[in-house]
């Protein structure tokens, strides 16, 4: 699994791709944590546009990233989730905890 990321004005964007389930959730959690540790951003954005499927394991990925960012006083946002992913965010109520930047179309 390859994770692309870029830093712009202390805002770190991590591009996630593929299907997030329990089988691979740990890979995502570890990769996101090591990016945050490497760049110490004030804000981290998880770009979900390339995620084609996600179950509640993806919620755990987001909550772990939120914890890591909170520990350093930073904030977390999620951007551009596809329809199925957005439905899982809504069902879990995480859209009330974290800013979700929906794609403008």
């Amino acid at each position: 699994m390859h994770f692309t990321s870029y830093l712009q004005d202390s805002r770190l964007t991590v591009l996630l791709t593929g299907e997030i389930d329990h089988h691979c959730a740990k890979t995502y959690i570890t990769a996101i944590n090591s990016k945050i540790e490497a760049y110490s951003p004030g804000m981290c954005v998880l770009d979900f546009s390339g995620v084609t499927f996600m179950d509640s394991s993806g919620i755990a990925v987001v909550i772990n990233a939120l914890r890591t960012m909170n520990a350093s006083g930073g904030t977390l946002a999620v951007s551009s989730p596809q329809k199925q992913v957005m439905k899982v965010f809504r069902a879990s109520g995480i859209d009330k905890l974290i800013k979700i930047e929906e794609e403008v179309s």
Binding site: E19, D21, H22, H23, D55, K87
Partner: protein, 143 residues
């Protein structure tokens, strides 16, 4: 009970089978001409139930997971996912949003998502015997 079509799958509780299971059920459901959203809902609910068997039912080692799908009249997909694992002592508590006995990589939202995404949902479980999840999804007929 009458059904229009049916299939049964049995596989060991390996996490690589999570993707296989949700994809197999989605392939079976494809003959019902579902919308993309309906297919996504079915894949999500199956992924949750199968993951629970893999993570919680057989904490020490592998066990068998069985999925039975039937197409009932009026375009209803009936799905039963069963394990012979440790079982759930308190089902009501387990179904509470955010309740989990798992670690940081669990969210405790699995049952909540199955319930939200399916038309009907029920859990039967007995400590030391196993757990069975029954769910149904009524699909819209597309004209």
């Amino acid at each position: 009970m009458k059904f229009e079509n049916a299939m049964t799958l049995e596989f060991p509780s390996k996490s690589a089978n999570e993707c296989f299971a949700r994809s197999a059920v989605a392939c079976f459901a494809a003959q019902m001409d579902p919308t993309l959203e309906e297919l996504g809902d079915i894949r999500t609910a199956v992924s949750e139930a199968v993951t629970n068997c893999i993570v919680h039912a057989y904490p020490e080692g592998l066990g068998l997971i069985t999925i039975r799908c039937r197409i009932l009249k009026d375009n209803v997909l009936d799905i039963v996912i069963k394990d012979k694992g440790v079982g759930i002592e308190n089902v009501e508590q387990a179904r509470t949003p955010m309740f989990t006995t798992g670690g940081v990589e669990r969210s405790g939202m699995g049952f909540t998502i199955m319930e939200t995404f399916m038309t009907t949902f029920a859990v039967n479980s007995k400590s030391g015997v196993g757990t069975t999840v029954h769910m149904r999804r009524k699909l819209q007929r597309r004209k």
